[in-house]
Symmetry: C3
Subunit: 144 residues, 3 copies
């Protein structure tokens, strides 16, 4: 991984063979980033996508072992049990320009993934939500 | 809805059952936000998508009543008749990892939608464009 | 093209008939922007999409001559041979709400494309990579 920092923003590049979630999580911990908004463009040779089933309240995963363009990549990193935890969704384009898409469980970069990251100085945490079974952002309630 | 503010930026979370456009529009009005760039990731149980037909110059809408991952969500809020008006496009992933996509007319969140919002202090307005029949961003012309 | 600047950020609008890559590249040069993160939403009447073939290490292109919603648009501009060079990926929705997606070689706007641009004061350059045959972001290596 390579990166350049501009105050609270970063442009980073993952290199061929690097695992996106694993590498980014280590990087966020190393930089002490407690909240970041993230987007990216590039390509991968494998992605494991998830779909949250509202009936079972569990993720269903599928692996795509092919060269794919990363055509959308959005999400954030917040703290779960005091460590950075990524929540990223993506769209991946095939050779015929059709797509597969979902929650990004993991993705192996090839040959490059250009990541834009904006950090905040204020920590944001995730807390377990019993209804959904998910770890949701623990934010103050809006009193509309 | 829940949110945290960082100077001119916000991380917000819509909760299960909330209507995205309706709730965000109220929130932007309440915060007095006159322009914002917006992105998001999460999931919905319903979305009403639009396609602008260049021949008829009218939107065609279709409802999708199913649990979908929000895999891309981009756009902005500007002023139309002095009130916040959202222009958002999105991509939504199905259980088989295929997608439906278009202009977001409305979307019902389930179980969570994490929204990133960057506001500006300068108001940006929309003005009616007779040629397209749409309300376009009223910005100064670039003299190239 | 029309635009408004907020310090180091811009909201811009491309108008009907304008070529996205050509017009944006001229604009970036004119403003002296040496790095920018870019996103957009709107619609086009034509797009030329690319897929990078990992075997041949060359792009394969296809033209789509139809009215499409721009439902995702992400990437950046960095310097290649001292001039702005755009790297943008996108997802485009058809009248039936299905999509085509890939690397954006060129796109003709109709009737509007709303572009969000965040510039940085520090130049970022691309350098030729012999392994992939691509011009990758030339960033300092992270010593994990």
């Amino acid at each position: 991984m390579r990166f350049q920092r501009f105050a609270d923003r970063y442009i980073a590049r993952l290199e061929s063979g690097e695992q996106t979630i694993e590498t980014l999580t280590k990087f966020l911990g190393s930089e002490g980033i407690e909240f970041a908004n993230i987007s990216a463009a590039g390509a991968v040779s494998h992605v494991r996508l998830g779909y949250w089933n509202a009936q079972s309240r569990e993720y269903e995963f599928r692996d795509f072992d092919e060269q794919l363009e990363v055509v959308s990549f959005q999400g954030n990193s917040a703290l779960k049990d005091d460590a950075p935890f990524l929540h990223l969704h993506g769209v991946f384009a095939r050779r015929d320009f059709s797509v597969v898409a979902g929650h990004i469980k993991e993705a192996r970069v090839h040959p490059t993934l250009e990541i834009w990251l904006r950090s905040e100085r204020v920590p944001v945490r995730r807390a377990h939500d019993a209804t959904s079974g998910l770890d949701l952002l623990d934010l103050p309630k809006w009193n509309a």
